[in-house]
């Protein structure tokens, strides 16, 4: 088995989420790859645009969605720009699943609080949909999701589905004419809603500045470090702990992460 060799996959559907983010639904071209493929929420993949390069995305689909996988890509540089130019039917490469995952088994019996911002919803969507599909295993599920503007909110087509099993709270930094919801930042909304930390696990992903203030609020609500989870981001190439790029201290984000709780993060050199 060559861990550098991608599986070929066909882009089945491209969904424009926001002005700079698209979600790609892909299917492995080799039925054997498709049949053998399994993953856990929080794991990531290396996506190849052949001749351009490879880059890292979390699997935003959930293992409960069978027969395809999805990732959401924000356009920032060389490979993500090439992806944004791709069309349905194009062939790309996938190396996955990579990295660790959210400990959804350990969370059984607990309430779940998701606080996300912007593209940070991509990894959270996987674990959220997974937990919603296994609703009987978990207590109350709460989602607080915010973005800069209403146009920057991803996965709008799923909110109704989420609301069947979770309390969903949306907020934007700045509304527009059609926006009737809340205006303000995620940390402020969290403070206002003040969910109980009792028997509850919190997951927060999003821009570093948002995470910083969400953490403060979570601490104020009594959440312990080991009950707060996030995904860390470092530049990646190999995705398998060999190219030496994504380390924080002696941990490789690509192997030991990307999912960490804040107790683990406190032990790392603060260099990420």
């Amino acid at each position: 088995m060559n861990p550098y060799k991608p599986m070929l996959a066909k882009i089945e559907k491209i969904t424009v989420e926001t002005p700079d983010t698209k979600t790609f639904k892909v299917v492995f071209t080799d039925p054997e790859d498709a049949a053998n493929f399994d993953y856990k929420p929080g794991q990531f993949q290396q996506v190849s645009v052949f001749g351009v390069g490879e880059c890292t995305f979390c699997l935003t689909s959930s293992p409960t969605m069978k027969g395809y996988i999805e990732f959401s890509a924000k356009k920032v540089g060389v490979v993500t720009s090439a992806l944004h130019e791709a069309e349905e039917g194009d062939i790309i490469g996938i190396r996955a699943p990579l990295g660790n995952h959210f400990p959804t088994d350990e969370w059984k019996g607990k309430n779940l609080l998701f606080a996300g911002g912007g593209i940070g919803m991509a990894p959270m969507r996987s674990v959220l949909n997974y937990c919603l599909a296994h609703k009987e295993d978990y207590g109350k599920i709460t989602v607080i999701y915010g973005s800069r503007t209403p146009a920057d909110l991803s996965y709008k087509y799923e909110y109704d589905e989420w609301r069947k099993g979770a309390d969903v709270y949306l907020t934007v930094d700045a509304g527009d004419d059609s926006w009737t919801g809340r205006v303000g930042h995620v940390p402020g909304y969290l403070k206002e809603l003040a969910p109980s930390s009792e028997n509850t696990v919190a997951v927060t992903c999003g821009p570093p500045i948002m995470i910083k203030f969400v953490l403060q609020e979570l601490k104020a609500l009594g959440f312990e470090d080991e009950n707060i989870y996030t995904t860390l981001e470092m530049k990646m190439k190999c995705g398998i702990g060999k190219c030496g790029r994504c380390n924080i201290g002696s941990k490789f984000v690509c192997v030991d992460g990307p999912v960490f709780n804040y107790k683990e993060i406190a032990d790392l050199p603060q260099e990420f």
């Binding site: 088995m1 060559n2 861990p3 550098y4 060799k5 991608p6 070929l8 190849s48 645009v49 052949f50 001749g51 351009v52 390069g53 490879e54 880059c55 920032v76 540089g77 993500t80 062939i91 490469g93 570093p208 981001e233 470092m234 530049k235 190439k237 190999c238 398998i240 702990g241 060999k242 190219c243 030496g244 790029r245 380390n247 924080i248 201290g249 002696s250 192997v255 050199p269 260099e271 990420f272």
Partner: protein
């Protein structure tokens, strides 16, 4: 133990190359010796007369195609596993391969490209007659332990090599040589003892090289971020992966990379978690002396001294590790 007179090296290599592809330092046409497959009639440079660049260039080439795409298929470019003999790397370099083994072969996703060159490779490692001024093997590990990384240890006694087989394979490949007598054995042991510096206190080094040591700023000030310290290092393994378009398809290759360069960790968003020379120098040192010991119980520097000799501004890792510049 066996004896190989220096006049017999060419013949020995000729014999060896009947069953194995021989890799050894040969002239690069300028002033260095580089590891290459030895062509028939070519004589390797193992007498200490030249600066030998690290064998990494052979085990992990600076440029290596991983796969190509052609007609919508992926063509795997993993090299075939061959029988090799690598001669004339330093004992420290042999130990550096043990570090590489941890990085590339451990875990559930071993690296097939490295493995193809490593799986059946008889290692003939050199203990040079003269210890170069920059060498500090003994500061980074127990040099006697490093013999286990070799099939044969070659002690340079001036006009001859004492050959100490460490494995069955090594014994087999040296069986035609004459036996060494006790005085030669003693001379070989005495030579290695010159490289030994006693017990290495990894913990004490780790404590000196604290992440928040205020001295990092000073230590890194001179660095011009050329990356030569890492490119020249036998145990630095970091690489980049890139794509190129090729006629009718594309290729993915990997190439050397260095933690000393800004874009090593520069992310698409523009954010860089190691934004200056200080955190990058610190990364190089801590990766070797703290993180790798934590990951697999081995210091990732083997004290070969190449970075000491190659650094254009004279940054000397020995002073940093030894505490002269970090205490």
């Amino acid at each position: 133990m066996k004896l190989l007179p220096k006049s017999g090296v060419a013949g020995f290599i000729k014999e060896l190359s009947k069953t194995r592809e021989v890799v050894a330092p040969v002239s690069d046409g300028e002033s260095y010796a580089v590891f290459k497959s030895v062509a028939p009639g070519e004589t390797p440079i193992i007498d200490g007369s030249r600066f030998i660049l690290s064998p990494r260039s052979w085990f992990m080439p600076g440029y290596e195609v991983l796969f190509e795409t052609k007609d919508g298929e992926i063509v795997d470019k993993t090299p075939e596993t061959k029988a090799y003999a690598t001669i004339g790397l330093y004992l420290a370099d042999a130990h550096a391969l043990e570090v590489f083994d941890r990085v590339f072969l451990d875990g559930d996703k071993p690296d097939p490209y490295y493995n193809a060159r490593r799986a059946d490779n008889a290692i003939f490692a050199l203990v040079p007659a003269k210890k170069r001024w920059s060498v500090f093997w003994g500061m980074t590990g127990n040099v006697c332990d490093w013999k286990k990384a070799c099939d044969v240890v070659m002690y340079d006694l001036g006009s001859e090599f004492v050959m100490e087989p460490m494995t069955d394979r090594g014994a087999e490949l040296t069986k035609s040589l004459a036996d060494a007598d006790d005085s030669k054995k003693a001379a070989a042991d005495a030579l290695l003892a010159r490289y030994d510096e006693g017990e290495v206190d990894v913990k004490a080094i780790g404590e000196r090289l604290m992440w928040d040591n205020p001295k990092w700023e000073e230590v890194s000030r001179k660095c011009v971020a050329c990356g030569v310290c890492t490119y020249g290092c036998p145990s630095c393994s970091c690489f980049d992966m890139r794509d190129d378009l090729k006629c009718g398809g594309a290729e993915r290759y990997r190439c050397l990379d260095s933690c000393q360069h800004a874009d090593f960790t520069l992310m698409g968003s523009g954010y860089n978690p190691r934004p200056g020379r200080m955190p990058r120098t610190r990364q190089r040192l801590l990766h070797k002396f703290k993180y790798q010991p934590e990951q697999f119980g081995m210091i990732g520097c083997v004290g070969c001294g190449r970075c000491v000799e190659l650094c254009p501004v004279g940054i000397d890792i020995r002073k940093i590790v030894g505490g002269k510049e970090t205490k």
